[in-house]
Symmetry: C2
Subunit: 315 residues, 2 copies
């Protein structure tokens, strides 16, 4: 399939695996890239040296393009960026910060840059900063979300109308049906998190994967809106946050409740009670742990099948 | 276009205008039905005698099928149902209540019944009650919403997988792009509210229509989650609710703040400061007041155009 995103990244399918803290190391990223999508190493949960190691291992495991996602809210971004350049990473996804800060630096080094946004204002800012494409992420997505709470259904047509660069849709996409819907809305590709978080190659703790595939409708909730909005699986920690919010907790109260390393505790160390479990709303539809290549192929086959179905109507 | 919904209702296009308080009287419903969709009179804001008058006027204004929407949370439902039967209304949409309560009564009178749901549990309950179809309404929709906050993108494939009856998608749909996306997700038709709330034939106050078409991204918010969740345009009233919620307001506090007739004050009488302004997230993309027939035709033409575009990819 030739389109602006497959051409930009030189990949076979317009399917991108989201960079996710504690889930997407070199194993997952290389598996997705080998299967014809774009795998992404999530730098957000890695010390600089760990990231370097993952990049090197990923390159050994695949000769296809892969990327690194860098959340710009972390303090050691300069060090991370230097590593990306030294290790000759060709594609970088930036998120959770100002796209103007690092895009110029990366583009000078001939790196392809994609920025993650959740509203038109930042989409335009990213385009102006010179990024090659944007990820537009809806309210239903896991991890950190926009404050406007705009859903994928509403966000993608707005962003498509606002910018001239390729748009990658994210949030609520884990099937061929949803991928086709994203294309209908105007996307050139999809970024998929939750479905790959439960891949065999994901570094998420087995307890977390099990919790995701057994979760049901209404089991996730956008939490900590006063702090940094994040979609969480409900557990004792998330319920404590909800209770605190219902009682009018302040930003400082929420920060204290969150503490440190909660995401690692839940997603990597497997504490399903007190850990922070970031996942998308679409987790309710996931019910099996499979190899990343199978996940990707099923989504792609579903996309083609659903396209034929929607075409099947006669007029 | 022949499909389960156009056949069920004997309509030309699988496009249904949502029954909306203070917006959808006989003028809007008959305009949509005359244009080939299914118009719906919203009984929620009408006294029984007023409803009877609207049904009669609608029948004079169109010889095409139309429906009435009845929110089951109101006290005088028995009286409303008797009127629907006396006036020989052939299609009834029920919402905000238990589908088991009235479906049997209506089906006995050979009325086609559709129930509005926001989760799988109620979709199955509606199917079991014998309804002919369901409307599955996502988080982004205006008016009253489900507590799970499941978005259209996540909800439609789940509901499609759960039931055997036709599914009508609602929430975030105001364009051909979004309609095609709904079909990709598995819907057989779309129900559209916000776009028809600003139709020339809508009985919404001109101030409210103007406020909708000038609204921007992030201007609506799901409010009063402790009471009955409802999506509102931000104004002084909505901000007061948000402030109260952030301070831990109880259900009783919210009910007191809401008071009586706030929706009428805003949507029908045009008080943009203190009125309750129910509208969908997609209002950010609306920017013109047009005849209902034009709105419907543009969505349908867009649907066909986008279908060809998504087909245009070569493999």
């Amino acid at each position: 399939m030739k389109n602006p995103i497959t051409s930009l990244f030189d990949i076979k399918y317009p399917i991108i695996q989201a960079g996710m803290v504690w889930c997407s190391g070199w194993r997952l990223a290389s598996a997705v890239s080998n299967a014809g999508g774009l795998g992404i190493i999530g730098a957000g949960s890695m010390y600089p040296d760990t990231l370097r190691e993952h990049i090197r291992k990923c390159r050994q495991a695949t000769n296809r393009p892969f990327a690194v996602n860098v959340p710009l809210l972390y303090p050691n971004v300069q060090e991370i960026m230097d590593i990306l350049v030294e290790e000759e990473v060709g594609i970088v996804f930036t998120s959770a910060g100002n796209p103007a800060t690092w895009t110029g630096f990366l583009k000078q080094k001939e790196v392809k840059v994609v920025h993650v946004i959740a509203n038109t204002k930042f989409a335009l800012k990213a385009q102006y900063s010179g990024v090659d494409a944007i990820v537009a992420e809806g309210f239903e997505a896991g991890g950190h979300n926009g404050r406007e709470e705009t859903t994928t259904m509403c966000l993608i047509p707005m962003i498509r109308a606002a910018v001239d660069i390729p748009v990658i849709a994210a949030g609520g996409i884990a099937s061929g049906k949803a991928m086709l819907a994203a294309f209908a809305l105007g996307a050139d590709a999809v970024q998929i998190g939750s479905a790959f978080a439960v891949a065999e190659e994901s570094s998420a703790h087995p307890n977390f994967k099990e919790r995701i595939i057994t979760s049901a409708e209404g089991d996730t909730k956008l939490s900590m809106k006063k702090l940094v909005p994040v979609r969480l699986l409900k557990n004792e920690f998330a319920n404590a946050v909800a209770q605190a919010e219902a009682n009018g907790a302040s930003t400082a109260d929420l920060a204290a409740l969150l503490g440190r390393a909660r995401a690692k505790l839940g997603m990597f160390e497997g504490d399903m009670t007190e850990g922070e479990l970031e996942i998308g709303q679409v987790s309710a539809m996931l019910n099996e742990i499979k190899p990343a290549a199978t996940i990707l192929q099923e989504i792609w086959d579903g996309f083609l099948l659903e396209r034929d179905r929607v075409l099947g109507y006669t007029f």
